[in-house]
Symmetry: C2
Subunit: 262 residues, 2 copies
């Protein structure tokens, strides 16, 4: 796992449910703001540590305003219900006294269970070595693009100024040479790439709400990633993300609603 | 719209962000507990009215414990960020001083926008008149089954004691003779039917977290409904729901994570 991930998502408990965070400026998008997946990972990790829990099941974040990179923040965590099977909490990240994002997440252990089913199949991508590295094709190695490695079977149409009209894509990504061992890294990777709605002519959009389901820690560093926008209308669009490991397991999935800015 | 929907989802403001609710016993599941979609609809409507907002965009509910039907409850609503484009609030429903469910929802007006896309197609179902009414096939007309009308092209395998192994189904549903005019009715209808994971041999499950995206008010009373469970493992499964109106518009979609009880 990229060592900066652990540093950048760390927070320090004050002992009263409030944790001190410095929002990193190493995980910015090209627009100069902290990536939403990074914000989610930081808040989720802080909640997990504050409540003494282990495995997240689901996390729903509402983005209230753009976080300021490189600036101190407060994470206020409260338990909503710490049940036997499932434990749920909420957290608010604030900067300068104003709320930046709000998270509700549920945690729980996964009992061994014989019943298993998987409806969808993993993306069929060429090997990462046979795919293009965006950094070799003019994408600047700054912010999140310096830290998450991507390999693309096809270059996005929007990147060449010709949106394809097809709001679907599949790509590889990894966060270091080893399989990630922190669930929060999966939250980051569900929201680490450019919105696939750019293929529909959207200029930029920001996430209103993002929900991640966590299924398993991956067995491989490279995760095959499937992105799609199912509906765009009236200034809003959704985006689904699936993360698959080399064993063919869907390790996490997410869905978000975003508002178009241009 | 079924007249009892407006009665059952009503709440009375006390003036301090707290609203009095009586959790109806008319919208129970066969297990004798209030349907989760009904609980969501009630909380969402209360939040919308308390904050003076109009159109929901996204709603994420965490179910903390089963609500008691026919019992008084308190809905505590707070605004998280009331922005120009998007307004977000949270609400907790409590009974007897204990939290039952927690909701975060975002609202906003939908500006006219020329860009529109829809990746998926509506279900191809026979006309409702050519489909089976479960009430004519031994399903008792009690609780939610008395109020939401269903029409099934195919009877579920699990209902005959033979789970099909295919966690997908499509069906019609409506809430009265006219198209629903309250967004909250769409929230209810996203979680009104039996879990499609029953086709995988699950005996019963309860929802941990449910997120609904609201796209449009429907033009028709009958909504074509598509349900699927994408992944089941380790005691948890997801469920996606799509609601389509007669004009071929995806009016709402939802995704939930549920924990298996048996």
């Amino acid at each position: 796992m990229h060592p900066d991930f652990l540093t950048a998502t760390a927070s320090t408990p004050r002992g009263d449910g409030v944790r001190d965070v410095t929002v990193s400026d190493h995980w910015n998008t090209p627009f100069g703001r902290p990536n939403g997946g990074y914000v989610l990972a930081t808040m989720l990790r802080g909640m997990r540590e504050e409540l003494g829990l282990t495995e997240p099941l689901a996390a729903s974040i509402s983005y209230l305003t753009a976080a300021e990179p490189g600036v101190a923040a407060e994470l206020t965590v409260t338990g909503l219900k710490l049940g036997r099977r499932v434990q749920t909490g909420q957290a608010t990240l604030s900067q300068g006294g104003s709320p930046v994002a709000h998270l509700v997440a549920s945690f729980g252990l996964r009992p061994p269970d014989g019943r298993a089913a998987q409806l969808r199949r993993p993306p069929q991508l060429p090997d990462p070595a046979a795919c293009a590295d965006p950094l070799q094709h003019g994408v600047p190695a700054v912010g999140i693009f310096e830290r998450v490695e991507y390999r693309l079977a096809d270059f996005p149409g929007w990147a060449a100024g010709r949106p394809s009209g097809d709001p679907r894509t599949e790509l590889w990504q990894r966060l270091g040479d080893e399989p990630v061992t922190q669930w929060e890294a999966l939250a980051l990777m569900c929201d680490s790439f450019a919105p696939v709605a750019l293929e529909l002519g959207v200029g930029s959009s920001v996430t209103v709400q993002l929900t991640v389901h966590f299924f398993a820690l991956p067995t491989s560093p490279w995760l095959a990633t499937r992105l799609s926008t199912g509906r765009m209308a009236d200034g809003f669009h959704d985006e689904d993300c699936e993360l698959w490991d080399a064993s063919g397991t869907l390790v996490a999935q997410s869905r978000q609603l975003a508002v178009e800015l241009s």
